[in-house]
């Protein structure tokens, strides 16, 4: 199939960017979205033009690197699917596709479709860990975790930190990301000890990094390629209130 692409091109963080039009010809429906872009880039290179720069790594939907807003939806709008797992069979011959980078104050554009997601790391560094003494490996079942708690924590831990929640949020807020980390650790015995400090430090870091405030639109959950539920935001709010009285 043949497609018309409108791709955001920006040569550097301070440079002005604009949408440029490209034709993707003879695209196979079995190609992934990134493979389609790879082919467009091969043609651009052959023509002596600058290829489209985009983030990618594992290409199996777990690293959270591919970050493109496709036709107005982060990751293209197929439920629980990252860009790398999005296949061209989802599109029709003759379609026009808009490809843009994540847009949020906290995510400056580095080049074309690549943004700097360091702000998410700053939130993690502020409290996304548990403190423990190193030493010998603890016995397997020394610390019992009830199965429902383990399942709950695993659901939160599904977050791959791609930032689609921020890209989708009308407020450029990272509450879904932050809440997934806070809830995951607060649900486990290893994380409970520092739960109060963690929720304060991580939400403060979120604010300091320039993310907006959550106003419960729930666009984040709809765009999340891992289906992280906004119930974790409610959990963060509960943890925060507990911390206020500590």
């Amino acid at each position: 199939m043949n497609l018309t692409l409108h791709v955001w091109r920006q040569s550097g963080p301070k440079e002005p960017g604009k949408l440029e039009q490209y034709e993707a010809k003879n695209v196979s429906p079995d190609q992934s979205f990134l493979e389609m872009l790879d082919e467009v880039n091969e043609h651009l290179i052959k023509e002596g033009k600058d290829p489209i720069v985009f983030d990618h790594d594992c290409r199996e939907g777990i690293c959270g690197m591919c970050s493109q807003v496709i036709n107005g939806v982060p990751h293209g709008g197929q439920e629980r699917t990252t860009v790398c797992q999005l296949h061209m069979r989802r599109f029709n011959d003759g379609d026009t596709i808009y490809i843009e980078p994540w847009r949020a104050l906290a995510f400056p554009i580095l080049k074309d479709l690549i943004v700097d997601r360091d702000a998410l790391e700053k939130i993690m560094q502020a409290g996304g860990y548990t403190s423990c003494h190193t030493g010998g490996v603890a016995d397997g079942n020394a610390l019992l975790v009830p199965k429902p708690d383990a399942d709950y924590a695993m659901d939160a831990a599904e977050c791959i930190g791609c930032g689609a929640c921020v890209a989708a949020c009308p407020n450029g807020s990272a509450m879904l990301y932050t809440s997934a980390k806070v809830a995951q650790l607060a649900a486990l015995p290893q994380g409970k000890a520092e739960a109060a400090e963690r929720v304060c430090a991580m939400t403060d870091a979120m604010q300091a990094a320039g993310f907006g405030n959550c106003s419960n639109h729930y666009e984040c959950q709809a765009a999340c390629p891992k289906g992280i539920n906004v119930k974790f935001i409610a959990r963060l709010n509960r943890e925060y209130q507990k911390a206020l009285f500590k």
Binding site: R103, Q207, N213, A222, I233, R235
Partner: protein, 221 residues
């Protein structure tokens, strides 16, 4: 006082003051509905209420403080949120957000404007449509004042428009305050979303019923 400056803390204050305002909306509706009992109902209610000045003034000041906090943080958070999202997508498709959730600041500010007008009208009695008088038992005739004002279709229309704003504001505000307080989970999220719409619809219709009944000529002097 991290609650006054932090992202989540200020949202909790928005939520708590919002809940106080919803309680006021309920109390005010119950008080207003005494009009359906005729002049004896609402005039007796108003007289009884105003025979307790410390209570009335205490309540008024408390509500004023709640409104002030709600508006200040509402404006502040909205400005921050606008700044955090440069909003430059050439194409943006929203999957979940609603007209109500998107326009909280505008429905809120319009409601605030209406409240000022409403206070000037019926509390300060400063608008030209107001008829001030005493009823047969020498009580301030609130019944006559309200029936005369709402007899004017334009005044009723303004009131109706304000109640539509109330509906929009609360249809997002009710589920939102529950989420911000953390009183929510996977099962309750859809229940509260529907519940918020149902409750705000009932409140809107109940408030509109007063001018509607007056305009229909069912309540007359």
């Amino acid at each position: 006082m991290r609650i006054l400056t932090s992202s989540v803390g200020r949202k909790i204050l928005m939520s708590i003051t919002g809940q106080l305002l919803i309680i006021f909306v309920l109390i005010h509706l119950i008080g207003n509905s005494t009009i359906f009992f005729g002049p004896n109902g609402i005039n007796a209610y108003a007289e009884h209420l105003h025979s307790l000045p410390p209570l009335v003034w205490g309540f008024r000041l408390f509500m004023l403080a709640a409104v002030a906090v709600h508006i200040c943080y509402g404006v502040m958070l909205t400005l921050e949120n606008k700044a955090a999202n440069p909003g430059a997508y050439a194409v943006k498709k929203n999957l979940k957000k609603s007209f109500a959730s998107e326009n909280m600041i505008w429905t809120g500010l319009l409601l605030a404007t209406f409240i000022v007008y409403h206070l000037i009208q019926f509390t300060i009695k400063g608008t030209p449509d107001i008829v001030i008088g005493l009823d047969s038992l020498n009580r301030p005739d609130v019944f006559k004042m309200v029936v005369t004002s709402f007899g004017n279709a334009l005044i009723s229309l303004v009131y109706l428009a304000a109640m539509v704003m109330l509906f929009l504001h609360l249809s997002h505000g009710i589920p939102s305050f529950l989420q911000t307080m953390g009183w929510n989970n996977e099962k309750t999220i859809p229940v509260f979303a529907t519940g918020g719409k149902v409750i705000s619809t009932i409140l809107m219709l109940a408030y509109i019923s007063i001018p509607a009944v007056i305009l229909a000529g069912l309540l007359k002097l």
